[in-house]
């Protein structure tokens, strides 16, 4: 997805302005050098403002050469859009449900969906998803002691781990 500099430039300028405003709201220190938490952010804001303006000007001078927005070939392929949607969707699903359902269930669903979407081979995907989840659970939860959420499997946590 190539966006023209004529559009990206103003976005960077806008980020710069927001940074400047946010920096000006930082409290001034009462003691010390007089440089507060807003000092560096305001330099960054000015920098982004200036660079964004440069980018806009550069894009404007080439406005006839480059279209405003060019999508990759994937825009015409429903499958590729679904691929990306599956990755982002699976991650969002994991973020939203892992506390309630637990790592094993949420992780399995996320992984299986992306595997099937990428490969179109449900049986192999199922095997890979199960093996991966078990491997990750064993390595991270049982060996490295990362507190991955148990979720609804909490009552069975005693029998599901060898620790």
């Amino acid at each position: 997805m190539k966006v023209s500099d004529v559009i990206l430039g103003p976005i960077v300028v806008a980020i710069g302005i927001v940074t400047l405003v946010a920096a000006s709201m930082q409290p001034k220190p009462f003691f010390g050098s007089g440089y507060g938490g807003g000092f560096f952010p305001s330099i960054i804001g000015i920098g982004l403002f200036g660079l964004g303006a440069m980018l806009t000007l550069a894009g404007w001078s080439k406005r006839n050469e480059a279209p405003l927005l060019v999508f990759g070939d994937w825009i015409r392929s429903g499958r590729h859009i679904a691929n990306a949607a599956a990755v982002i969707g699976a991650l969002l699903f994991y973020i939203l449900t892992s506390d309630a359902l637990g790592f094993v269930i949420s992780g399995f669903v996320s992984l299986f969906v992306v595997l099937v979407q990428f490969s179109r081979a449900p049986l192999i995907s199922l095997v890979i998803a199960i093996v991966t989840i078990l491997l990750v659970k064993t390595v991270f939860q049982d060996i490295l002691l990362v507190p991955l959420p148990w979720g609804i499997l909490e009552p069975y946590s005693g029998s599901l781990t060898w620790r």
Binding site: P27, Y35, P41, I44, V87, G107, L111, I124, L144
Partner: protein, 507 residues
């Protein structure tokens, strides 16, 4: 010398050695699969190293990065796809030789030059870094401020593509670093009212997002068909190799020297080392025709250069805490997480650790010959790994890795956000490495500036009156002004030309 012996003993512990071998195999695999970069290998390793002692943790990163940079040459030779960006410089040259049926020779040259380059870089690192560290003990926050500025500046300027976009990427990284509690007053800053952001944006989660999730998204949207490997039987890769390399020994030496030098520069990494040394080899070749038709000359130079720079990038990283490339940036992050502050003092307080890191470079580069040989023999299988299964599995490891850093879901959210931003930036020609350096150096620039200002009681001139600070400061400001000076110079030149033309017309 006693220190080196201690470090050697510390390294020769069975579990450290096992970690090094496993990390090497991992690095070889990730580097050899097209679409998985060396930085991604390191980013994925960090959550695992989090649970190790400092020495095995860094040794694992060292071996994985050295192996991945070498392994990137394998798909470059067999598929014409660089396995990591640092193989891109000579991908065409290597593939041209493969088509002439010389794949064995090229792969053999890559193993030998990579290992030699890495070894020489490591020896340079081992003897040069302590000298610089002794010198650097005298420097204070003023010098650190300018060195961090210089690191940030070269990150933006040396990055491939448009310098404006490099600089924007850098500033966005620095802006990310500003999130969290402001160290001087203890006030929260840019935390959007969320207490989970008081500690700042999770570095590891952000870099897993930028380097792994972004890559998975790119794969998901890639409409290119899976690459087909050249079906060539790989026999003895070392046959007839020594005379060929000996023939180009001058280029080889040049390449290693260029790579070592590039690595020391903050912000310039293995990919830039490979580009520069390949260009130099082409410029100074005696036989340009043979060079372009397919010869080992450029390959020998650049293959050694990128691995040499991986080693020497640890000079600024360990001595000053300023990353030489994106992989050492991660190493600095890991050292901080272990409660160790990279800098000259670490050479006095933790000499065993520092020399252990240096020795692990030597060990990793020695291991590269047998393991690299095995990887080349197995290349057909590695390159044929179905990526439609591999990518989702990596995604799952990313999720757990991002979670494991502080055991909160915020890490996973950060990873997703930075993954999408990273993908979008890369699509539009914004380089990612400056953003990473910005995240790591941003805090350092601010802290050293404020400390210096408090010490100097607001007297800004203090930044220039100390000799080293003044010199580094002047260089940094000159680099900042260089685009303006160049523009003025060009405009002046054009005006002169126009004036000359105008004068000509009048006559």
């Amino acid at each position: 010398m006693a220190v080196i012996y201690d470090a050697f003993v510390a390294l020769m512990v069975p579990n450290v050695l096992v970690v090094i071998v496993l990390a090497s195999v991992f690095g070889l695999f990730v580097g050899a699969v097209p679409g998985l970069t060396a930085t991604m290998a390191v980013a994925l390793l960090v959550p695992v190293t989090f649970f190790m002692e400092p020495l095995p943790a860094i040794a694992a990163i060292v071996s994985a990065s050295a192996m991945a940079i070498f392994a990137g040459d394998i798909p470059a030779t067999l598929l014409r796809i660089p396995g990591t960006p640092s193989s891109a410089a000579y991908t065409d040259a290597a593939y041209r030789m493969t088509k002439q049926g010389k794949a064995e020779l090229v792969l053999g040259a890559f193993v030998v030059t990579s290992a030699t380059g890495g070894l020489i870089g490591a020896i340079f690192l081992m003897f040069f870094a302590p000298v610089v560290a002794r010198f650097a003990l005298n420097i204070s926050s003023y010098e650190y401020f300018w060195l961090a500025c210089l690191g940030l500046t070269s990150a933006a300027f040396i990055s491939p593509g448009s310098p404006v976009k490099g600089a924007i990427s850098l500033l966005l990284g620095v802006l990310t670093a500003m999130v969290g509690v402001f160290p001087v007053t203890g006030q929260p800053r840019f935390t959007f009212g969320s207490t989970t952001l008081y500690g700042g944006v999770g570095l590891v989660a952000a870099l897993i997002g930028m380097f792994a999730i972004a890559e998975i998204l790119r794969f998901a949207l890639s409409t290119e068909p899976a690459p087909k490997a050249v079906k060539t039987k790989i026999g003895n890769i070392f046959k007839g190799l020594v005379p060929e390399i000996w023939r180009f020994r001058r280029r080889f030496a040049d390449g290693i020297a260029v790579g070592t030098g590039t690595g020391v520069l903050p912000g310039a990494g293995a990919d830039i080392a490979a580009w520069i040394s390949f260009a130099i080899a082409r410029r100074f070749t005696r036989n340009r025709e043979e060079f372009d038709k397919g010869s080992l000359e450029g390959i020998v130079a650049a293959g050694g250069a990128n691995n040499a720079s991986v080693s020497s990038a640890y000079v600024p990283a360990t001595v000053l805490g300023i990353p030489g490339d994106s992989m050492t940036a991660i190493v600095i992050g890991v050292l901080f997480m272990k409660g160790l502050t990279p800098g000259p003092a670490i050479f006095q307080h933790q000499p065993t650790l520092i020399y252990g890191i240096f020795l692990s470079f030597i060990l990793a580069n020695l291991l590269m010959i047998p393991l690299g040989y095995a990887a080349i023999k197995l290349a057909r299988y590695i390159l044929d790994v179905p990526r439609q299964y591999l990518m989702p599995v990596i995604m799952m490891f990313c999720v757990v890795g991002a979670f494991a850093m502080d055991n909160t879901l915020i890490g996973v959210v950060t990873m997703l956000v930075f993954g999408i931003i990273g993908w979008f930036m890369e699509e539009n020609g914004f380089p990612i490495a400056p953003a990473l350096l910005g995240i790591i150096l941003g805090r350092m620039v601010e802290e050293t500036f404020l400390t210096s200002m408090i010490k100097a009681q607001g007297d800004f001139l203090q930044f220039f009156t100390r000799p080293i600070a003044g010199t580094v400061g002047a260089i940094t400001i000159l680099i900042w002004l260089s685009p303006l000076l160049m523009m003025a110079w060009r405009r002046l030149g054009r005006r002169r030309e126009l004036a000359a033309r105008g004068a000509g017309r009048e006559v």
